[in-house]
Symmetry: C2
Subunit: 244 residues, 2 copies
DNA sequence: TCAAAAGTGTTGGTCATACACCCATGC
DNA sequence: GCATGGGTGTATGACCAACACTTTTGA
């Protein structure tokens, strides 16, 4: 905040901005990182795909707006959405990022388990999951936002426990490992991954009493739930990151 | 961006927001982490101290506004400021964070070497460095922003090379170690710290041909300059972080 | 000659990697 | 039985923390 500039009191003395949120909603399906995109139904960028998002309501924080938009775009209930992982990515404020007017957008990243196909609600012409590595050119500066979001997600898996956000409430360690391998694009050693996860207090806890589940054929795997921990100390580094 | 909502074209259909930047400018002086604060000269929060900041100009990005404000508040030349480390922290958008109107603020963090006292320019009643651990209650939500910024800086030292941003162009390894010890509030083993830094390619490079400098008494230390690397692989973890 | 700070060497423990190997299930 | 995925054991090696020791300056 500017320190007590008189013009602070006069709404006409500063440029009015529109403030929006944009959402990079990721999920892991079929061993690929997917992102939720909506098809624009009007100019500008009509027919292009874009990240979902929308304007802040008059008395709404950016976080609340992001959660509201996430519920609208995914068709999930507010209760379900309130439990999903959603965090601010960064704010994009280049003067010409929207050809219509001055729009400052607070981008957010959401990690969700594999959900049913979105119903494409709201004002979008369509909505679907896209392979995050194979999106065409997106509207506005959304290519950049998406790239930033992918980088952030990859980095966050190293030193936080939020890989579990990609998993359903009960999951196997194999599924959790799949998340890492998919996001990072590498293969991990299963025994070592297992030890690392179980040795980190609060990363996962056994889903006690739950039966075992099969991933097709093979031995049924024990089920786990996400733990209380958020940080991962020491971190779980990407194999490439080790030598650099 | 909302996908082609008609009201996107009509400036009267959405709430006008003011957009500002706030700056958490850190430096290390006298073995304490310091933050630059300005004294507010008018209501609200007259007489309180606050983070420096100000409104975005009509065709200015948040990053450009932050750099401009940083130059104004520190009294440094634009050239000097352009070389300093400045990065976005996060955006604060609670509806009532400013009692006057709806203000969305894009907070930034800057790391600077020990600079001369600020001249308190601009619209502030005063400006000075404060021990970052002993700031009184600040104006607006700036206590929260400052706390977030301190956390971020501490975390960033673990996995990036930007501790050098706190140092002058030529510095000794002892000075670099002081930065870590000050920000983290711990003591580090000098031989191990030294090895770790020198073993990380691109963290520092010798200031070739430069003479040696003394930090008072004791053996003169070799001088180094910041290297090209930004990431720190593997990270340099805080001692506390090891067991958790 | 002593204190203080820079710089080098060494060692022991811990942790990760890379495997080998057993278990349980579907076909 | 055999393929497939879950789960356990283990040894080699890398790395890190701790600390002893030498070097170079100012007083």
């Amino acid at each position: 905040m500017s320190a007590a500039a008189p013009e602070g009191y006069d709404p006409s003395a500063f440029e009015p901005f529109a403030v929006t949120v944009d959402l990079a909603v990721f999920t892991v399906r079929e061993s690929r990182l997917h992102v939720l995109l909506v098809e624009r139904g009007a100019e500008p960028y009509q027919g292009h795909w874009a990240l979902p998002g929308g304007f802040l309501l008059p008395r709404e924080s950016a976080g609340a707006a992001a959660r509201r938009e996430l519920a609208e775009e995914t068709g999930l209930s507010d209760d379900t959405v309130s439990g999903l992982h959603l965090e601010q990515l960064r704010t994009y404020s280049e003067p010409d990022r929207d050809p219509r007017m001055r729009v400052v957008s607070v981008a957010h990243t959401a990690l969700v388990p594999d959900l049913p196909e979105p119903r494409g609600g709201g004002d979008a012409a369509g909505a679907r999951w896209w392979d995050a590595a194979r999106t065409g050119p997106l509207a506005f500066d959304h290519d950049r936002i998406l790239a930033d979001a992918r980088d952030r997600v990859g980095a966050k898996l190293e030193y936080t426990c939020l890989a579990t956000a990609f998993c359903p409430p009960h999951f196997t360690l194999g599924e959790l490992q799949q998340v890492y391998e998919t996001v990072w694009g590498v293969e991990l050693d299963r025994p070592n991954f297992r030890r690392k996860v179980l040795a980190t207090p609060g990363f996962v806890r056994p889903a006690e009493g739950a039966p075992r589940r099969t991933g097709g054929r093979g031995k049924p795997a024990a089920l786990y739930r996400a733990g209380d921990a958020t940080a991962l100390h020491p971190p779980l580094l990407r194999p490439e990151g080790r030598q650099a």
